[in-house]
Point group: C3
Chain length 344, copies 3
C-alpha cells in the first residue's frame, strides 16, 4: 500500500492531483477498481481510460490532460513506470534459508541460500549468497551460481557451467546438456564428439520454462548480461548472445551462431548455424534466418495465412514460380522486340 | 474380456452375427488376431478389412455388409465406438492411496490421494479426492487440484493456480511459470514486470509432456473445459482457450490471444499475440496466424516443399514478386491500351 | 596425454613429422596452443591453419603439404578422426555404482548400476549392467534399459518401454507419455483413446534434452539403432525411425509417419502424420513435409527472409498469385493467338 506521493518520491515522475490517494495494487485500465493504479501505455486503450474505475493513472506527458477527474502520475514511459511500481507492490520473497532434509548436497552452501526438497548438488558446486535452488533441481559438479540467482523447481544445470548474479531460471530448463555434435562414418554411423565446453551465463538473465542451452563443443556457449529468454527456446552449442537481447518462446538457434546486443527475436523464429547477426536486429515471429545480418532493422520471412481453398489455389504456383517468371520474360521479348536482356 | 452382447449393452450399437463371441483386446485391422475387436473408421483401410484376422469388427451403417463372415457391431461413428471400447478394456488404474516417505508434503492431503516419491507440495495446496501426484512433481503454495486429476511424474505447477477435475497432465509440463513480461529502458535494459495472475484450467483437460502454460501478468491465463493439448506447446500469459479446443504438438500461442471453443490447431502452428480467433476454426500444421479470425473454417499458410534445386530456382522469385507483378501490369497496359487501371 | 605415434597406433592414419610430439587436448585451429592437436576439416578454415599455434594437426591427404613446419596426422576424414581422438582424450566416466539413499527403488538393480538421488524406479524395471540413472529420473513399471545406457538427471520413462544398450538420454526427456489420440463426439467433446503401445528404442541412440517420444496407440513407436535426436524434438505415437537417422532440434513428427534410415532432418522441420519418407532423405531446416518422399535427396520448403518493408511489398502478392498467373495466361492468349492451351 503506497500513497501516490511516496511512489513519486521513490520512482520519479510528476504527480498531478491529490497526493494523498492510497493505491494497493497495479491493474489494467479495464480491470482496475477502487484502490488500483492503472496506466495508459498505448493510445489504442484510450477508450478504456474514461471508463476505468482506477483510483489513479500513470500517463505520458502528452496524455496528462486526457483524464482530469483523478490523480495522475506523469512519466515519460508509463509502461516502464508501471513495471517499477509493480515491483514495489510485489517484492521478491526472501529466500527461506536452509537445506531441506530431502536434498542431497555434496558441496558447501552459504547459510543464506535455500535448497528445496529433492534438490541434488554435486561436489564442487559453488553458490553465492541468497541463491534459491528449487525443489528437484540438479546442479552438476563444479558449477558456479552467482549471488541472488533463483532456480525454480526442476531446473537441471550440468557440470562445470557458470550462471551469474540475480538470474531467474524457470522450471524444466536444462543448461549444459551435450551439444549435438557427431562425425559420420561412411557407413552412416555417427561418432559422438565429446562436448567439453561450458555454458556461461551473465548477470540479470531470465530463462524460461523448458528452455535448453547446450554446452559448447570445445569452446563455450555464452549468454550475455541482461538477456531475457522465454519458454521452450533451444540454444545449440557455441552460440553467443549479446547483452540485453530478448528472445520469445519456441525459438531455435543452431550451433555457433552469434547474435548481437539488444536484438529482439520473435516467437518460433529459427536461426541456422554459423551465422552472425549484428546488434539491434529485430526478427519477426516465425521467420527462418538463413544468412547473416549486418544491418540493424526488422527482418521478416513468414507466409500470410488464407482460407484453405484460397491457399491451395495460390500456393500451387509457388512450385513453378520460375516458369511463370520465364513466361513473363517471353511476353516482354515478344511484346516490343527490344527487350532482349534477362530482366532478373 | 467381454462378450459382444455385453459391449452393445453398455455402449449401444447394433450387433450383427454371433452375440456370444468373446473379445479380449482392441486392435487395428492389420494387427488384429483371434480374440481381437477391430474397427473400420476410414474407407481407405477397406483392403485390410477382408484380410483381417479380427474376431469381430466395428462398422458404420453403410459398411455393415462389407464383411459378412464375422460378427460386427454397427455404430454411427466406429472410431468413437472404438475409443469407448478401448476405455473399457484399459480402465485407468485406481490411485495407490498414500504419501510416499520420500515426498515433502506441507499441506493436508485426502486419504484417497496418491503422492509419489520425490514429490513436493507446499503450504496451502488443496487436492481433491483420488488425485494422483506422480514422482518428482512440485506443486506451489495455494494451488488447487480437482478431484480425480492425475499428474504424471515431474510435473511442475507454480503457486496459486487452479486445475479442475479429471485432468491428465503429462511429465515435464510446467504450469504457472512467469509470463514473458518486461518493460525496456532507453539503454536497452529490460525491467521485469511481476507476473501476478494465475493459470486456471477447467475440467477434463489433458496436457502433454513438456508443455508450458504461463501465469497471467495481471489477469489469468485460462484453459477451458475439455481442451486437449499435445506435447511441447507453449501458451503465453493471459491467453484464453475455449472449451474442447484441441492443439497439436509444438504449437506456440503468444500473449493475450483468445481462442474460441472447438478449434483445432495443427502441429507447429504459431499464433502471435493479442489476436481473437472465433469458435470452430481449424488451423493447418505449420501455419503462422498473424491476424484475428472471425469466421469458422480451415486456414492455412505453409509452404510446399520441393527438391532443393527446384526450391532454389522457384523461391528466389519470392524476393522480387512485386517487380514481377509490376512487369505484368506493364505488359497489360501496353498490350491493348485499354487496361489502364491497376488490377490489384 | 598421448604421443602422436600412440594415436596413430590406436586410430590409424599416416604420421608425417616428429612422432614423439605429445598432445594433451583437441582444439580448433583458432583456439589451439602448445600441446594441442587441431584439425582442418573444411577448406574455409585454411587461413586459420597457417596462423594456428597447434602442436600438431589432422589433415586430409590432399592437404598434407599445406602445413610443413609441424607434425601432421593424415587421415581420409579429419573430422571423423578428430571425433575419435576427442573420445580418447575425454573418456566417459565409469558409473559410480550403487543406489543413493534418497532414491526410491522397487526393483532389482545390478551392482554395477548407478542410481542417483531422487530417482524412482517402479516394480519390474530391468536395468542392464553399468546403467546410470541420474538424479530425479523416473522409470515406470516393467521398462527395460539396456547395458551401458546413461540417463542424465530428470529423465522420465513411462511404464512398459524398452531402451537399448549404450544409449544417452539427456535431462528432461520424456519417453512413453500418452500419444495424442482422441475421438470426437458430435458435441465437440473429445473421448480419450487409451494409449497401450510402447516406445522401443534401439542401441547407441542419443536423445536430447526435453525431447518427447510418445508411446504407441495400439502398436509401438520405434526408434532405430544409432539414431541421434537433438533437443526439444517431439515424436508422436506410432512413428518409426530407421537406423542412423539424425534429427536436429525442435523438429516435430506427427503420428504414424515412417522415416527411413540415414536421413538427416534439419532444425524446426515438421512432418505431418501418416507419411512415408524413404532412406537417405535430407530435409532442410524449417521445412514442413506434407507428403511422402520416395526418392533420396535434399528437400526444402522455407521462405527467404527480407527487410520487413520489402517482405510486405513482395509477400502481399502471395495471397493472389493465382490471379497473377491468370493474367499472364490472358496476355499469352492475346499475344500471338496461337497459345490456347492452359500452360500449367
Amino acid at each position: 500500500m503506497f500513497r501516490l506521493d511516496e511512489l513519486v518520491a521513490r520512482l520519479g515522475g510528476v504527480l498531478v492531483g491529490d497526493a494523498g490517494v492510497v493505491v494497493r495494487r497495479v491493474a489494467t485500465l479495464e480491470q482496475a477498481g477502487e484502490g488500483d493504479l492503472a496506466f495508459l501505455a498505448n493510445r489504442k486503450y484510450l477508450p478504456q481510460l474514461q471508463r476505468s474505475a482506477a483510483s489513479a493513472v500513470i500517463l505520458a506527458p502528452d496524455a496528462r490532460d486526457l483524464l482530469v477527474d483523478r490523480p495522475r502520475i506523469v512519466a515519460p514511459d508509463p509502461y516502464l513506470y508501471f513495471a517499477r511500481v509493480a515491483q514495489l507492490f510485489n517484492p521478491v520473497p526472501a529466500p527461506q534459508a536452509g537445506i531441506h532434509p530431502l536434498a542431497a548436497v555434496a558441496c558447501a552452501v552459504p547459510p543464506s541460500a535455500e535448497i528445496g526438497p529433492g534438490a541434488s548438488l554435486e561436489e564442487g558446486v559453488e553458490l553465492g549468497e541468497d541463491v534459491v535452488v528449487g525443489a528437484g533441481c540438479h546442479i552438476g559438479r563444479g558449477t558456479r551460481i552467482g549471488r541472488g540467482t533463483r532456480l525454480a523447481p526442476r531446473v537441471t544445470i550440468y557440470h562445470g557451467c557458470v550462471v551469474g548474479d540475480d538470474c531467474i531460471i524457470h522450471a524444466g530448463a536444462v543448461i549444459g546438456a551435450d551439444g549435438f555434435g557427431f562425425a559420420r562414418e561412411k557407413s552412416g554411423r555417427w561418432v559422438k564428439i565429446p562436448q567439453v565446453g561450458r555454458v556461461v551465463i551473465g548477470n540479470d538473465v531470465e530463462i524460461g520454462a523448458n528452455t535448453t542451452i547446450d554446452r559448447g563443443a570445445l569452446d563455450d556457449t555464452v549468454i550475455g548480461d541482461g538477456c531475457k529468454l522465454d519458454n521452450q527456446i533451444q540454444i545449440a552449442h557455441n552460440v553467443h548472445i549479446g547483452a540485453c537481447t530478448a528472445i520469445a518462446g519456441c525459438v531455435g538457434i543452431a550451433g555457433s551462431t552469434r547474435i548481437g546486443a539488444r536484438c529482439m527475436i520473435g516467437g518460433q523464429a529459427g536461426l541456422i548455424g554459423h551465422l552472425s547477426i549484428c546488434d539491434d536486429v529485430v526478427i519477426s515471429a516465425g521467420t527462418l534466418v538463413s544468412k547473416s545480418i549486418t544491418q540493424p532493422g526488422v527482418y521478416t520471412g513468414s507466409v500470410p495465412l488464407q482460407r484453405h481453398a484460397d491457399w491451395v489455389r495460390n500456393f500451387s504456383h509457388l512450385r513453378r514460380l520460375d516458369a511463370l517468371a520465364e513466361r513473363v520474360r517471353t511476353l516482354e521479348h515478344g511484346h516490343d522486340g527490344r527487350n532482349d536482356r534477362k530482366p532478373d
